[in-house]
């Protein structure tokens, strides 16, 4: 079957799920899983060399004939949508069940399918108007998913922030697509690299898609939205929705000409996002916020790759760009997989313990061994460590950038800081994930809530296992996934299409697999040895301290203290504390919180300024008719002057 029928069936099935979803959870699950499986089939077909698919309708929709198109780039993202969409659907059934949330769970099912359909629509649309249509629907459905739990003020505030930030981005995209349509005379999209006059539009696209992707200064909405959303929603937001911003940039940097400086700007923004995103991440106390900021970092990594590829294209189609782009696109998958896994794991913890604060958790591993194990696996992948998938894509980006440096061209000057940023961000990510994993799962429980925690059921476990399997598969056998990624890269820049894979992915895979086996063997051997040597249990020695309490354990803030200290200039942590005084001190405390600096130090003051202007202007409507007539006369005079000036020859 060609992708066409598959996609239409998938769409219909998902829409059917949307309609029946609120009332019939079981049927909804089956329909949604079928839908994503069929959609995945279409995408895989394109990625496995089945050829691109393109379709134009005879009838108009919103005044424009439909133009759908599935090529390598969109198919790659479609696979991600389907994977996480299916996983989240299964997970949500138990996590956000009708039993716990009788009001919002049915709504959530409908919006879930609306989100999936609109995401697919965005990926398929090759018409500016329809692209925007899907884009807005996707934004709105994501908003309603974030705010499923509308009773909580925090959730509503986070949702509103998301909504207005997204709308800001959308307004940029309005301008982008309208300008494109005005310049080309049609809403139709497609490869237009020849029209050099369009290149300056890229900046609008970067702004619009950058907001959605969560690039550093534009990420302000991201932490609170991802932290406050239900966790399966956080997973798809972080794993998939952010990637739509990436998709936009990749798509339009491939189709449209770009300005000469764009590669530099993108790689620069990527580096900044990677570094500062992870710096914020490390300093968080809320584990879902930590994961959210980590997404900023990963989007930064992806943009480093994309920017590298754009630089390569603008410097004579240098072949290393292919590596960078491949790394970026593979990282789209990888981040989608491991971040969704981590958010699902975080959801499991939240479900069990009822708090997002790491410093109130601890010692969860005996109660939730599955979650703990899977979370650690996700952490290793997210830190880019061998033998998992995070390493593979970062490694590809590194290879591309190192080649750029070796070429010693001007692009090398962009690649050098990017490499250093990537390396530093990787090391910082390790800090963050060691901290998060350990504080949640290791040591002694810090509060009583933790002691009552229970492992999640299979409904939540299976999707996590599936995502973990994806992480393992890409990590151990990257070569299997190369053809798909390389087709996407070719679709992005056809001039590279003829070249073979320049990266020894097979060797890397072999090494990773060997390493995996050796790790498993060595671990088993040592475990066996330790068991055979007694394996006696005793209280933690802790240098002979006799009465350790759970409160004496290292906290999130103290663990991150050193690294966070280096970033004080941007983190601007707020510290409130009272020292213990006297012989029998009472009521001492120390609270440290890291604000969202860009939001609170930059955007809030600007917003306050606008509101002040608004307040001043609103005072003009003070109820006195006399002034109203005066305004009218003023308008008359103003227009008169305008016409006089314009009319004067």
């Amino acid at each position: 079957m060609t992708p066409g029928p598959l996609l239409s069936v998938a769409g219909v099935v998902l829409l059917l799920g949307l309609v029946v979803g609120p009332g019939r959870p079981q049927l909804w699950r089956i329909l949604t899983l079928c839908g994503v499986a069929i959609g995945m089939g279409a995408a895989v077909r394109v990625l496995s060399g089945g050829g691109d698919w393109e379709w134009r309708s005879g009838f108009p929709l919103g005044g424009e004939a439909m133009h759908l198109r599935l090529d390598g780039v969109s198919a790659l993202f479609l696979v991600l949508v389907c994977t996480v969409g299916g996983g989240g659907c299964v997970y949500g059934g138990e996590y956000w069940s009708d039993h716990h949330y009788p009001a919002s769970a049915p709504r959530g099912r409908a919006w879930w399918n609306a989100l999936l359909v609109s995401l697919g629509w965005v990926l398929l649309s090759a018409n500016g108007l329809h692209f925007l249509l899907g884009w807005e629907l996707f934004t709105v459905s994501a908003y309603f998913l974030i705010t499923l739990d509308r009773q909580r003020l925090q959730v509503r505030a986070a949702g509103w922030l998301y909504l207005v930030a997204s709308h800001t981005g959308t307004v940029c995209l309005f301008a982008f697509f309208a300008l494109l349509a005005a310049r080309t005379g049609s809403w139709d999209l497609g490869p237009l690299r020849g029209q050099a006059g369009l290149s300056s539009l890229f900046w609008l696209a970067l702004l619009g898609f950058g907001v959605k992707a969560g690039l550093f200064p534009l990420h302000v909405w991201l932490p609170s939205a991802h932290a406050n959303a239900p966790s399966h929603v956080s997973a798809i937001l972080s794993g998939v929705a952010l990637k739509m911003g990436v998709y936009g940039i990749v798509r339009f940097s491939g189709w449209l000409p770009v300005p000469a400086a764009s590669g530099w700007v993108v790689i620069g923004l990527g580096s900044v996002s990677a570094l500062l995103g992870i710096a914020f991440s490390v300093a968080q106390n809320d584990f879902k916020r930590m994961l959210a900021y980590c997404s900023v970092e990963n989007v930064g990594i992806i943009f480093i790759g994309v920017g590298g590829a754009m630089l390569a294209v603008s410097h004579g189609d240098a072949p290393w760009g292919r590596l960078a782009m491949a790394g970026a696109l593979l990282h789209v998958w990888n981040h989608g997989a491991f971040k969704s896994l981590l958010f699902l794991g975080a959801g499991s913890v939240l479900h069990a313990a009822g708090t997002r604060e790491m410093s109130r958790l601890g010692g969860l591993w005996p109660r939730m061994p599955w979650t703990a194990g899977l979370f650690v696996l996700g952490s290793v992948a997210a830190s880019g460590l061998p033998p998992l998938n995070g390493l593979v894509s970062e490694w590809l980006i590194y290879l591309g950038l190192f080649d750029a440096v070796a070429g010693r061209g001007p692009a090398g000057w962009a690649a050098l800081p990017a490499i250093l940023a990537l390396a530093t961000a990787g090391a910082l990510a390790l800090v963050g994930f060691v901290k998060t994993g350990a504080l949640i799962f290791l040591g002694a429980p810090r509060t009583r809530a933790v002691a009552r925690a229970d492992e999640c059921g299979w409904g939540m476990r299976v999707p996590m296992l599936a995502l973990a399997a994806v992480c393992l598969a890409i990590g151990l056998a990257p070569v299997l996934f190369w053809p798909a990624v390389s087709r996407a890269v070719d679709a992005w820049h056809p001039a590279w299409a003829t070249r073979e894979s320049p990266a020894p992915l097979a060797t890397l895979g072999l090494f990773q697999a060997t390493l995996g086996i050796l790790v498993a063997t060595a671990a088993a051997a040592l475990w066996y040895r330790a068991k055979s040597r007694g394996g006696r249990r005793a209280p933690t020695w802790d240098c002979g301290f006799r009465a350790p309490t759970a409160r004496m354990q290292y906290t999130a803030a103290s663990f991150a203290g050193i690294t966070a200290g280096w970033f004080d200039w941007i983190l601007q942590p707020m510290l409130r504390w009272r020292r213990p005084r006297g012989l029998f001190p009472t009521g001492a405390f120390r609270r440290e919180s890291v604000p969202e600096t860009v939001l609170e130090r930059v955007i809030s003051p600007v917003a306050a300024g606008v509101l002040r202007v608004s307040t001043a202007v609103r005072r003009l409507q003070h109820g006195r008719l006399q002034s109203y007539i005066l305004y009218l006369v003023t308008g008359l005079l103003g227009l008169g002057v305008l016409v006089l000036l314009e009319g004067a020859p």
Binding site: V431, L442, G535, F545
Partner: protein
Amino acid sequence: MIVMLDLVLRLALWLLLPPLLPGLINKVKAWVAGRRGPPVLQLYHDLARLWQKDVVLSNLASPGFVIAPAVAWVALVGAAMLLPLGPTGAAFGFRGDVLLLVYLLALARFATAWAALETGSAFGGMGAAREVSYAVLTEAALVAAVLSLSVQSGSITLATLLAPAAGAGAVLLAGGLFAVLLAENCRVPFDDPNTHLELTMIHEVMVLDHSGPPLAVILHGASLKLLLFSVLLTEAVLPLGRLPPFVAAAALAGGVLSVILGVGLVESLLARFAFRRVPLLLTTAFLLCLFSLLVAWNGGAA
């Protein structure tokens, strides 16, 4: 067959030689202090004894407490196997293996820190936090060093990367990498491997609660890491690839020994730094590597 033999010999070398190094360092220190010091082979005895000893696990520890040292050890062995050994080259080199080496070191670090946090002791947290935090700077320095070598050789395969000399920036690179070596292996002035039970340590506090075979694995891994860095430093600075094989082998051995001597001397002559000055020193190391990178870049352009 030859390949297998090569592999086995390398493995043997990497497994058997490392415990010698701490002994040598201790000898140097004793010699400077005018003492006799412990035997050179002390660590071998210790390892053997620990392997036989019973294990006591914390009540709070998960299986990860035992697994993590094994993971770290395998990661270090893997990293070591990637490293070429002077004239014999690498066991298996491929494009980008140098990055894998860096990330294997990171994996080892992840495992060590994880194990340290298992017991919920404040000491473990302290050590782990310091370990992973300072590693941010050492990793940046290491990658800068790799970049500088890569710019010079035009390659990102360890074997070709390390073959030529470091060129004009060799001194800078040597300084930077030596500092990285000291930091990564928790030597003075970053850490003090001799003191115990002090709040200001890194590595030792992380392994406080380990005992028996896991501790043996950790200690062996630590010494392996020391050897790994010594070899890396030597090969990065000396133009081994341009020397005849035997001379190169001798140069390598000599290089490693002089690094060890250097470590011993530093430990004898310097005191441990205050913790707030550690990042400063590491930043200096990073800058040294960065300068060597710039030198390499300009040298190539000229």
